[in-house]
Symmetry: D2
Subunit: 352 residues, 4 copies
């Protein structure tokens, strides 16, 4: 039985970790960390867990936690883990960090986009970027620190990855227009996240400045074998869960000037995803919808070729709290402990 | 392995049956009946099941179905099963009927409220009203026909049952004000169920005439040991899932003219529900919310005593597609086949 | 031109006052009071007013404000106006108070339900309870202080008023089950009002303890000519605007034991409302829906007689920010200044 | 007094026409055409109009209608007007057509994208594309036929127009990612528009094939003085009203290789829109939100320059039923009859 601790257990991603781990037959949650609710029963914060979780919330004592558990999930604000992580901790416990602290290899890029100083850059090199479908080989029982990918980034990267990897698109034309449900904004009490402000409304935000931009660029850059810059525009949508990305890129033309056929592109997606349990390449003409993956660890992807403009429109959908956060974290944990990758993640999408 | 067939597999309740049964380790779905989509892949109707369900939709041939499966779930319009049920069928297969055809023992009451003739009243007597928490003892491997309770009725009955059973309220004062999400209206293409008609709106409907009224009256009448009439008013709420009932009744005063104390009422609820897995009596002062049970088979109940008016306000919440339909159907199926009652129903509520 | 000042101009009710007064041809807003946003452009708080309102937000200086304007609207928390009101102020300016400070005549009732000390009870007697359809005669150019009714109370009272006034129902059986959109909870940054907490959810709150209870009781008590106690249960609904009330009461039977006929009850409603512009008694069988009054000053009411239980179910719907707050405040202002009562309130309901 | 007739008065755009025209002091609605509801009271279809509109719905008899009114609004399916329009009609009455029948000058383009034969191409040349901010000069009392622009197109065109007109962007890089509320899908009873299908969901549709594409291309082509092709991707958002477009284009660099500064681009927007009542260029850094224009005839636009990619991100928001349909139709009508362009359109956005 793997003993797990969660720091930030009362945020939305933390709550989803609890839901998923409670259904995981190899895991026992030992520590519900939540600075805001110390000594309060966890179910008094999340009443859905009444008669299911009896534990109280505890503070963020990483030292003590490391003594008691095998793995720590940190669902915490940026900078939290970076400020506390030590070699001693990593010798005692594995860490899956749901924040951005160790996702970006170039510390100056991190500090520029996040506007905070990185307090423990010495661990960045060691951290594995835990996008399992791409970096599975780098994650094993020897791995100590996982940088769990962001919600937007998981969706954005997986949607474009096969074409970038195979060199089929003009890299400098890639644009990602992303739409997210409101749980992505967290559980902080802020006016812009009030029901009446979000409901019956849609807006872009963080235009040309959202922090997930360099993360997407870095990872797709590895796939491309060269640096790239993209436009990434997130939007806030009046729904609880779900991210949809619509990505645009110029398709490289073939020697004869023609565009690749549908079947050729489909074959490339299948090459990378046909054996992936959690990535579903939809049938021709079917557009991904966030509702079809809600509550599950799936990413649905598809594409459309526009002969008129020579562009391909790629689309992807996932549940930001599952594949975009807690589900992927558990997927990484499974790899860390040598379990089947989908253990505890056989969550069927719930409709409607 | 229990072989199951579903008639009406592409309605919302049918879809939820598929979701739950797919996660049930003792069940295999053999037949996805859906007259509207015959020969279409099931996942083309419910894209969430892509790469999960490969079967095609089939017609409603009960005869053939009875040859192939151990249990049939009928998630069909009123009158469908009543028009087709025969002794031969019941000798071959167990049936869990999610329609109202066999819920009401007095056929004239059924015909009056549903405004259709009952075509097979001879089976009404045999059918067990499958509200497991109350009628568990009547359901066994010998039972052939389950009348699965309605969504509003399950919530309305369980919320008031302990007090009615123990004779603590004035029966002729009972009022049920119910609020339901829109999946309860089904998947039929009707203008009143369009997004723009339901969204940002709330209304009562079926006032003093909703068909779930006599069902609640009959079942609470058994508990009370006498007939009763109630007011039942359903409302349509802009959300997908969930039913909340708010029930009002005059509390009987004690010999000294005083009202029962909180603890006394709580003890009565606990007497009936403390050992029930799927009924949670909340802590004092906590009001049930539909969101806290979403996706699960739980019913959350609680109450408040109003000293000023002498009334008790009882509240209950459930997911209309789970405990109010498909979850309860599976709970009944488990009893029919001697399985643990909660098998396949360990669904944690999903928040947010 | 009437000069108006608003204290609390950046709350939801304050914002609606701005919207309505901007379209009122006899009014000029002179003062946008908002302690939280002093010196900020009003449109930077409510971007819908960009290029429409150029003023900045100002503090709550009632003294100075009284010098500059003819009428002050206080859309402020309970206790604010009571703590500052003086005879000097009332000699200079008319006040329409959207808080509860002067709604309840018995100060001890106010203090018990609101749990604050009333700082200026000497003005309670003078204040007119501004439910225009009932108290129109008491509001004239001599009136100095209007206690603008609450949102739930306006809807609850108007829905039952004709029957209470005419003595047609058993007073001790009256139950009000109310459902409100989330703008009623205000614009404060609190976790329970976040999008993800409210969306896809419904709950009761303030059961047997909501502050609008004594206000309804007092006003219906005047109509009845005797005190009454009621059950009032509010619910939070995932929509921005709108209140629906469903009210239950036993109908008094006639000498021959029969219940009044539909036409008799309808005639009573018409007696009070046929000439009221803002109260619409719907046609037989049509249930009020909040969407049909959204953005307007209408209250839609109707009823259904249940022969089985002997009860009448009364229903009412209004827009909590218009007839439930700002619209009614303007209606009162019109009466205070001798304008046509509906001036500036010819707002057509917006659908969908 | 202008006498107006509406064909398609019970669709969502038709209903909005009624709401706006009822508040227009120079217009009287003479004819509520609705084939589906002939002889039914209009308010029985749209209960918000109870006690406001007493007329009954009538059939689509254009001949008779032309005798009785000065202007006909056709809020009808594609092909309806084209199939009935005659020279005789146009000699008697002005027509504002909210369908696409006369928007596209090249009939073969229309027939290709709409997949129907155009039955009266002889009138296409005469029709004025009624995007008032651009084509105002072409609309006068001599104009007989207005092709009222589409909802997506109005938003897409106005957002990019100044930059296209001034030649500041690379035309072949223009991408329009659009998001619409569900009223845009109309009031037809179809499963994909049911509440439970749309709610808590977002999806793209009509990818690379939506019919508004050629309309945007044609109009922006006039501005550019050359043909262009774009990518246009609409998305369905769970809200009633509102369209948001996010547009991407490469900025042309200046001689020195630098990008234009914010102020330069702002000046270009101001050149075209500073005197436009209904187009609001927001302050730097403020992103348009659909909620801020709801219920009004405004279009809010803004932009962000991304130095990293050399692209400009343009954003626009409007209410699809007002500026995207009925409001713009009335704006056109005002021009046709020599009224102030904003007459009847002083609708303040409603928040929340």
């Amino acid at each position: 039985m793997i003993k797990a601790g969660i720091i930030g257990a009362t945020g939305y991603a933390g709550g989803e970790l609890v839901r998923i781990l409670m259904g995981h037959k190899n895991v026992e949650i030992q520590w519900y960390g939540s600075r805001s609710y110390i000594d309060k029963k966890y179910y008094q914060v999340y009443q859905n867990m009444f008669q299911i979780v009896e534990d109280v919330c505890r503070d963020d004592n990483l030292e003590e936690l490391a003594q008691q558990v095998d793995v720590i999930f940190t669902a915490t604000p940026q900078g939290f883990l970076a400020g506390l992580l030590t070699e001693e901790l990593l010798q005692k416990v594995k860490i899956v960090d749901l924040s951005a602290d160790y996702r970006i290899k170039d510390v100056s890029v991190y500090e520029k986009w996040y506007k905070i100083e990185h307090k423990s850059p010495q661990f960045i090199g060691e951290a594995v970027y835990g996008l399992c479908e791409i970096n599975r080989d780098q994650i094993s029982s020897k791995t100590r620190l996982i940088a769990n990918p962001g919600c937007y980034t998981t969706c954005s990267i997986l949607t474009a990855y096969p074409l970038v990897k195979e060199g089929l698109i003009e890299l400098d034309t890639l644009i990602v227009d992303a739409k997210s449900g409101t749980s992505g904004a967290g559980r902080g009490a802020k006016v812009p996240n009030l029901y009446c402000e979000v409901n019956e409304n849609i807006k872009a935000y963080g235009v040309a400045s959202h922090r997930h931009t360099p993360e997407i660029e870095e990872q797709l850059g590895y796939a491309a074998g060269q640096q790239l810059v993209i436009n990434f525009t997130p939007h806030l949508v009046p729904m609880n869960r779900g991210i949809l990305v619509t990505e645009y890129a110029g398709l490289k033309r073939k020697a004869d000037g023609s565009l690749p056929a549908y079947e050729e592109i489909k074959a490339v997606y299948d090459k990378y995803y046909a054996r992936e349990k959690f990535v579903r390449v939809l049938e021709q003409g079917v557009c991904p919808e966030t509702k079809w993956v809600e509550g599950s660890n799936y990413v649905d992807v598809n594409f459309m070729i526009d002969e008129r403009t020579g562009r391909i429109i790629m689309m992807g959908a996932l549940d930001n709290l599952v594949k975009g956060a807690a589900g992927q974290a558990v997927q990484n944990m499974n790899l860390l402990f040598g379990l089947p990758e989908s253990e505890g993640l056989e969550l069927l999408p719930c409709f409607p």
